[in-house]
Structure formats: structure tokens, C-alpha cells
């Protein structure tokens, strides 16, 4: 049977992708950001999964205001890289895992989560920046990826509680898949940031660090945090952090299994407008 071996959490700041693509990683401004991922790149090489289930949000690229799915699962064999207005990032196309994705859709929908199934979709920096941070700049990504897009652009976005419960349903789906696949689940976005209005540039380090602490130790309590706390304390775009709870809800320790291991933790301010947060949690 398939199983989830680990979860990865990271911001997905577009400027980080641009810094990589334009070879600026050695600049003093960017050095500390990429240094925080050196361990992670080696870790991923040493712990290469068969599939990555990658939770992210689209930023007005694949989805316009014509259709706004709350939860969308990518079931295609491959996904092209979106042109977000500056031209597509020069990164490999994303190879999907249609069979596992369809299996997860079937199981999770029967568990009362109404997923939108997407057979054709471009992926934006929300997905490709985490891949770049964790994999560097390879010719092809190391394994297939199932893109899972969450609406965190138009309110109301799904609650933390619902995201956490969805993570549990995704875990159950993966564990009922017949092939013995090693799956990692990644939650991306955040941390504190606000990109709009006179309050743009907001950062709240204390809140971010407390979020990381609670995500590790008290995820169920953290899942009860209302939207308004994210908006007020972590900025209007800080709401992306609810997506981390999907990955967290899929881990062993909150589903009757053994305690997990915190393999890596990193936090840095700033990258462009945003606080960078990153965790690797392993099942045992």
C-alpha cells in the first residue's frame, strides 16, 4: 500500500523563483534565503519520494474569475508552466500521477470533500517555487507531482479546520492505494505578508514563529484559528498558511500513529514583501 513518509512546508514567494532563474542566489540579499534550503535539497535527494502531493494556490493564472474552485486536484499526465505576465519560468514541466490523483479524488469526494477535478491546467509559482527550493535547477523534476490548488485568493477561503480534516481524508485515500508508493505531502504559501493597500509590507515574526511551534506540537488547536486572526496578525495574504494544515493533517501522529520528527526548521525575513518559513516533518 502507498504511504506518506514526510511533509514539507515552505513559502512560495515569486521573487525567490526570479532570483534563482536570474542567477542572483549568491547576492547578499538572497544568500540567507537559499542557505536555509541547503539541508532540504540534500534531504530530498536522500529521501526521494515516488510522488509529491503538492498543496498550493493559483495566483490568477490557471483560474481567472470565471471559475473559482475551492479545492482543485490536478489529474493530468503533465502540467505546463504558466506565463504569469513576465514569461513562463524556465523550469521543467511538471509530470503528474493521473492514476493516484484519480484514486485520491474518488476517495476524498466520497469522504464529503467536493474536489474539482482538473484535467488541463498550467501551474504557477505557487507550485514551481517550492520545487525549485527543494530540488534546485534540474533538467527534470525528480518525481511525479500531483498539484492540489486551494482558493485562498477570494474570500471566504476554506477554514483551517476544513483544511486539516481534508488532510486526514487525503491520507486515508493514499493509504488505500494498492501500489507501495512513498508519498510526500507538501503545504506551501505564507508566512506573514500583505501585498495590498497602505498596510502592505506587514510582517509579524512572533506570530509566524508561534504558528510554526503550534503546527509541530498542537496542530489541532492551530486548525481552530479563525480567518480574521490570519488577516489581522499575518496580513491579508498570510491566509495562505491554512494550506499548511492540509499537509499537517495527513501525518501519522494525528491519525493514531507515532510521534513525528522535526527534521528541519528555517525562518527568515524578508524575501521581497514576505517572511520565509520552512519545515520538514518526518513520520517514524
Amino acid at each position: 500500500m502507498a504511504h506518506i513518509s514526510a511533509s514539507v512546508y515552505t513559502s512560495h514567494i515569486p521573487a525567490v523563483g526570479a532570483a534563482l532563474d536570474l542567477s542572483k542566489t549568491a547576492e547578499p540579499y538572497w544568500q540567507p534565503v537559499f542557505k536555509g534550503y541547503e539541508f532540504s535539497k540534500q534531504w530530498l535527494k536522500d529521501n526521494k519520494p515516488d510522488v509529491i502531493f503538492l498543496v498550493y494556490n493559483d495566483h490568477a493564472n490557471a483560474f481567472s474569475l470565471d471559475i473559482i474552485p475551492t479545492f482543485a486536484i490536478g489529474t493530468a499526465p503533465e502540467f505546463a508552466i504558466a506565463d504569469e505576465g513576465w514569461g513562463p519560468r524556465p523550469v521543467p514541466k511538471v509530470i503528474g500521477h493521473p492514476k493516484l490523483a484519480a484514486h485520491i479524488a474518488q476517495s476524498v469526494i466520497q469522504d464529503d470533500f467536493d474536489l474539482t477535478i482538473v484535467n488541463k491546467m498550467e501551474v504557477d509559482h505557487g507550485l514551481t517555487v517550492p520545487m525549485s527550493l527543494m530540488c534546485g535547477q534540474p533538467q527534470a523534476w525528480p518525481c511525479p507531482v500531483i498539484p492540489f490548488a486551494v482558493n485562498v485568493v477570494q474570500y471566504p477561503v476554506p477554514s483551517g479546520r476544513r483544511c486539516y480534516m481534508l488532510g486526514k481524508a487525503i491520507r486515508k485515500a493514499i493509504e488505500s492505494y494498492d501500489e507501495p508508493l512513498n508519498v510526500q505531502i507538501w503545504g506551501t504559501g505564507g508566512m506573514s505578508h500583505q501585498l495590498q493597500g497602505p498596510r502592505a509590507g506587514l510582517i509579524n515574526k512572533e506570530w509566524d514563529q508561534a504558528f510554526l511551534d503550534k503546527l509541530i506540537a498542537e496542530p489541532e488547536k492551530l486548525a481552530a484559528t479563525p480567518h480574521i486572526d490570519y488577516v489581522r496578525e499575518a496580513g491579508s495574504e498570510g491566509i495562505e498558511l491554512v494550506m499548511w494544515l492540509i499537509a499537517r493533517g495527513a501525518m501519522d501522529d494525528v491519525n493514531g500513529g507515532k510521534p513525528l520528527t522535526t527534521r528541519h526548521r528555517f525562518y527568515h525575513v524578508p524575501a521581497s514583501n514576505t517572511a520565509v518559513g520552512h519545515l520538514i516533518l518526518e513520520n517514524n
Binding site: 521573487a15 481567472s64 477570494q154 500583505q194 495590498q196 514583501n273
Partner: protein, 129 residues
């Protein structure tokens, strides 16, 4: 009965909810059209004529022409959509975000390098700094 919107008292912040999205639908879809290179070229060649192809309000069109992002947001624009205008103009996300704060580009960049805008005094409208 009106819906609960607890986010109305967050200073300097407009939450893009279903009401705002309804008002901003054409404005945001216009922005989305700028993802195509040929549309960017047509828009740059004659901005007013390009905007007139969209059923946007006059206020929305004027806000776009003035690149007044705060006004665009007030009229239903969302920053991820509006960023396509910035991309067309060759602006970074940081330049766009900074343009809404009343700070110069350099002041905004320095604020971010210094740890960002503090949360203290920025939680509630009218709160003492």
C-alpha cells in the same frame, strides 16, 4: 440579514470577498487578458481604446490609467490580477506593493530589509500607534 465580515476594521486592508469580486469582475478579467503578449502590446499602444473594449466602469478605467492600485482595489480589483498591469509596465511585485503605501520605492525596500512593517499599531482601524 447581512453577512458577518469581521475584517472591515483592519487598517489599510481591503479583503477581496464575493462582493468585491462581483464589482471587480470585468476589471480583473481585463487584467487577466494581459497575460497574452499580443494583448500587452495592444494595451500599451492605446490604453484607453483597449480599456473601452471592456464593460468596466469609468472610475475603474481611470484608476487603471492612473496606475492607482489603491483605487483599483477599492473598485473591486484584486492584487494578483492587478499584478498583470505591473508586469506589463515592467514592475516587480515589490514595486507594486510599495506604490500603495505612500512610501518611496527605496523607503519601502528599506522597511522590508529592516524586518517589514510592524504589527504594533496596525491591527485595528484607529488604534494608537
Amino acid at each position: 440579514m447581512s453577512l458577518d465580515k469581521p475584517y472591515m476594521d483592519v487598517p489599510g486592508t481591503t479583503i477581496f470577498d464575493a462582493d468585491m469580486s462581483r464589482q471587480g469582475y470585468h476589471l480583473n478579467q481585463f487584467c487577466m487578458s494581459l497575460m497574452k503578449a499580443e494583448n500587452r502590446a495592444r494595451f500599451k499602444a492605446n490604453e484607453r481604446a483597449y480599456l473601452d473594449e471592456w464593460p468596466m466602469s469609468e472610475d475603474q478605467k481611470e484608476a487603471v490609467l492612473a496606475r492607482d492600485l489603491n483605487r483599483c482595489i477599492e473598485l473591486g480589483g484584486n492584487i494578483y490580477f492587478l499584478s498583470k498591469i505591473g508586469a506589463t509596465d515592467g514592475k516587480s511585485f515589490q514595486q507594486m506593493a510599495g506604490s500603495m503605501t505612500g512610501m518611496s520605492e527605496e523607503e519601502y525596500r528599506n522597511m522590508m530589509v529592516g524586518g517589514g512593517r510592524s504589527i504594533e499599531g496596525n491591527r485595528y482601524t484607529g488604534e494608537k500607534k
